[in-house]
Symmetry: D3
């Protein structure tokens, strides 16, 4: 990536991590470590990648280990957004053994999930790197984790689509049906929106595309079109609007789509169906 | 499943759904629908499966549609835990069009994610149905969604392992290393735990298994053993302890593992790496 | 207003109102009414305007009266966004007298504050109605009430600028100073932003304006310029970018600014310094 | 002020400030600074008054800048309650430039609003300084900010009336109407209240005042009376009860009211209609 | 009681009850009922007193049973504040058996605890009924339950002292020591407080009492004095100030204290050490 | 105790303490200290036991004193679980006098309540120390304080029963009645539960005990049985199941119950009816 990775706000990270710790610790914390590990035992642990990918979520892991006055510290060997190989050391954690064991799973759950999203994103980003198309996400995210997953998309080299229903207008088929036409829907949106609110409209056909362009559409979503249709759309557009392609995008189809000349390709699967990236934690406890 | 599905508490469901709606609605709600759809427009919508699987999450979808005094109602054609086919109608939602569009994505995000978990679980459950082994989950869940994902595992025919660090003891290799031996760790745990707290101990070798059995271990986790070793473990055990197998379980390996005679097989992938099950929402708006 | 008023999400309204009720009710509620008014007394009350303006906040008032299973109901005679005169009846509330008295102040505090914002906005909107300029708000809002105040700006006929630091880019003098130049700052922002994130850049001089236009700036904030400079800016722009004027805007200066041809005029005072609009509540209690 | 200013609890300050930061930072924080300002850039900034008044809210500003492990520090040149002139330096903030820019608006929104309340209060306090009357506030506060605004009233030299419906009894016209008479209402309240709960009763006429005094009223609110009536009330009272005047109090009317001999004058406008006090932030960024 | 019982705000009750249900239901609710009781089984249950006392907490019980859309309803046979005998039927609950069993313990925990507080209060209230002394509470309450326990004190016929550190001033020995004298401390408080904030001062000797009276003290706490000293204090006071006795008050000592002529007797034990009042729930399930 | 005391998670402690401080500080904090104690006054205080018992809750006290950046520090002379005598010094707190006075009551309320629970537990533990029976708690806890009270039970030498309805199955008479028989209920539970969820069944007669044993019951609750019946139950059991006795257990009855050979004795009174243990705070303020 040629630009710096926009970090998540520390407030958001600590809220999510504290909620996850509460979820895992329940009402009496790590009863196993408390029963078996002496309170004064120290430990060191290395987080190590077990497969190649892109790392994301180190702030979450660090927060999980250092929350609740744990006495732990974490040293990073990689930064979010870095390409990693199986076997790479990612971070070292040192401090009280009980605290380390109590936070291990939450830290790895965040790190694995977000690195999974970043890695799936990066795969598609790499596949389209020879074109001007950029990979972006959708609102098809895991409930409660949207800001984190969208951050991971950025870590993987993708860009973010809108965050929610409130920060941009996206007119879809149902809206058009009610409004009566592409241009009627677009005009209603243009009239309601202030100058800082982006407006995108989804079209299913090249006729709709022409109507959207005529009505002053500046961002147009081409839904479920074949590469041939997309190529025609790019030609019709003549650079007037930003064009985004969506629908059934995966590693088999993304190259052909990207080569049509569209500007953005949005993919739900990078957030809603990314398998975790596998990390291990090798712990050395000194009783 | 021969027994009823244990539902999630309505309090938990509404908390998770309201948080997800807040995440999606942000600071001004669905600006698109508000700009384009008349406030008094009504709509009907059908949630339809686009691929076969097991449905889970209908309480979440219903809650998303009916929250915030939306005026919407939802009628179910399937119940959680049901096997469904592509094209099956799952539920019908009726009421104000703006409200329906504002909740659609959150409802589908929950339904897709949880049905994904249920379906992945069911695949493994089906593969081992000819044995007495049961599929169970782990603490490798998506942060913030553990209770929901564990519910989805039950919907898919699996059973739940412990929910967190607090509701059962699970002694692992690091604990054993600090305690000095399998039996020392087990004794420490037995002494600390009350009579309602289950104790499981992880062993890596058959020697450790024998030591655990001799020390009165009642639930034993056989980690990363080959089917041959598992079979030997079952023989050594002679029905004394409950045996759970774990480590790199997937659809290729699960049958062989299940046929060794172990009682439970725990799988992280059913919660941390399940792709969504695909549902569509066909909306008919009457302006 | 020619388009419908975008409402606030019911979730947000009830959260804000319940927090305000908790703030006013403290630890034992309305001890006066409980001591003096019989529990079974009924009451009717009319909310009446004491000065002309634009009403905003009826959802908040209704929520304050009907929260906490109060048994109250509220009938509206006006809708948010309506122009009202002194003496106009706005709404009627009926039900248990204790509950009505307990919610009166919170309801009026919201209604007065938000109608105050709407009315200040409408004053400026009226003053510039003969031009194409539109009045918009800023991030200079009362802490905790931004979404509500921005809603009131819409009720007053204004449009909303960005909601926070996250939903649009606004490059100011400090950013430009660090980046080295208007064009350097703009390029950095264009590279970082996805296609749905609007980018605005603030310029202080006509030279900066030309640089911004040359660098592809699409939304440009003209800060603290005289009407003469603004008029020159409009000429230079030739319709290429959206132009927003800001700085010391008030009822004395806004007309001259609006007649320069700028598209938007942003005003902090409509949210941060609007006096309340005065409403009275005439209560008729039947013991 | 001859006595120290009672501070707000640090818990309340940090809760309000974190909520305001969350409101402004939304789901991805300050995207502008992150895109344009290098992560390692440092900055220094001076908060400077742009108009004379009384400062209030420095704890809020300090908390906004130092929250979320920002790495920023703030040095104060003034303390809350101080009279300031246009051009006065109020505080200096130093640290990471991105963090400083991300917190600037929230810090100034609190400081401007609370200093506005303090300054409006001080204006009235100054006008009545030659009398024994003291200026106090009401429950007509901005929703969610009551504790902060009442703190600002103290900073401006005023005193606080009750905080909510629960911490003192205030019998008004509606209560009296239901109870049947001033004395009936007062007796009901005296019987219900413990010895630590203050009781005030509102009267509209001198006859009601005499009835209230006869019934043992210790704090009496004289609502909407002319200076002449207030003077008569003071004479009738003969020092028996504490007398508070209220109703349409502003800088034109307050002197005459204060010279009648009443003890307290309550004013809603100092909290509900105070314009912000204007502060600027001059930032010097070192990339 | 000659006056109506001031109820707790419904907002507070539902917040406390939902927190307690969440505490009891944890992450998967009532797994026993879900495993053993059919989902469509109905039940009726009677809450019955197992010992005599004063009932308090029926709003909490009702809320526990009807929360989370349980489908349950509760009919009351007694109201809070009523004297009850062993064997008395208190309320009947009807509806889904699973829901009834899931809420039973939380409902009874509130009812037992709050009725315990009310009953302990009533015992002391009865013992001093032949005098003008009234029993009041302290801030020695169970963390998190102060508003509820103070409500239960009222249900038992007691009156409430201040609710917290913020709603009244209570000057104790440490404050006096720092201020230098009783009168210095009192003057500092009188100067800082507005007219609605009550001021009480604690004295240990009759000399201090005289000093407090001379300094205009209106509410005086006589700490740990013998009945003889209290009687002298009453004589010295001559009705000028309200007198409150405190220190080691219990059923053995309270009569003698009350007969000295003091106005209030404050007792920590009625809130911090009240044993529960025992209630049973007889359930009749119809599968 | 021969094993270490399992601590409460620091997250839980700080949540409970901050809620209790908010409850006590209300909307403007400690107005007395702020009015009377100079802001720069320092103080030292000793927490001293006023009666013998077992201390529990020092983490809560420390958190109350050091929360909200108070500047206070606390040094411990005892640890939770220690037997203490009247007059023992427990801890010393040093720092700003205002902060110390503001936190004193909350710290002592926690310490007194939890030490009360620990001490009541320890009394019973001591009484049965000559047998193999162990004292355990129930779900009859104070709403909102279950985790803290169960911790205090451990500090007193007891063990914890299940924490809520979700972390173990406990089949009672109503469940058995609906299921049709002891064995039917047990089989339903065994089928529904995973291998980590303990199942206990309550029996009222020796016939039910035999049925439960025959059905594979591993943990059996003997409810309200006489010592004679309990002894017979132990004989019938022959070590097959863990036996728990419950019902009307107190210091008069517990010895006889413990000598019957049962493994556990559960007691509601140690949590729901424990009087506080009395502590004093001797403060030395240096103005």
């Amino acid at each position: 990536m040629s630009h710096a990775l926009t970090p998540l706000s520390a407030l958001l990270v600590s809220q999510m991590v504290e909620a996850a710790l509460a979820e895992d610790w329940g009402r009496s914390g790590d009863v196993t470590a408390q029963a078996v590990i002496p309170a004064n035992a120290k430990a060191e642990a290395i987080i190590r990648a077990r497969e190649p990918g892109v790392v994301a979520g180190l702030d979450f892991a660090a927060c999980a280990f250092t929350a609740a006055q744990s006495g732990l510290s974490m040293q990073r060997f990689k930064e979010d957004g870095a390409r990693i190989e199986a076997g790479d050391d990612i971070a070292k954690i040192s401090g009280p053994a009980q605290a380390l064991l109590a936070s291990e799973r939450v830290a790895l759950n965040f790190l694995g999930h977000l690195s999974g999203v970043a890695s799936q994103t990066a795969k598609l980003v790499d596949l389209v790197a020879h074109t001007s198309a950029r990979i972006c996400d959708t609102r098809k995210t895991t409930p409660g984790l949207r800001a984190a997953e969208k951050y991971a998309v950025r870590a993987g080299g993708g860009v973010n689509h809108r965050f929610g229903l409130d920060d941009a207008i996206l007119i879809k088929d149902n809206h058009i049906a009610v409004a009566g036409s592409v241009s009627a829907a677009l005009h209603a949106a243009q009239q309601a929106a202030g100058h800082m609110l982006s407006i995108e409209i989804e079209v299913d056909t090249l006729e709709q595309l022409e109507e959207a362009l005529a009505a002053g559409g500046k961002i147009i979503l081409l839904d479920n079109m074949t590469p041939d249709s997309l190529r025609q759309a790019v030609e019709i557009n003549q650079g007037r609007a930003i064009l985004e392609a969506s629908g059934r995008v995966n590693s088999d189809t993304v190259v052909a789509i990207s080569e049509t000349g569209v500007d953005f390709i949005s993919v739900g699967a990078i957030t809603h169906s990314a398998p975790v990236l596998d990390f291990g934690l090798d712990i050395d406890v000194k009783a």
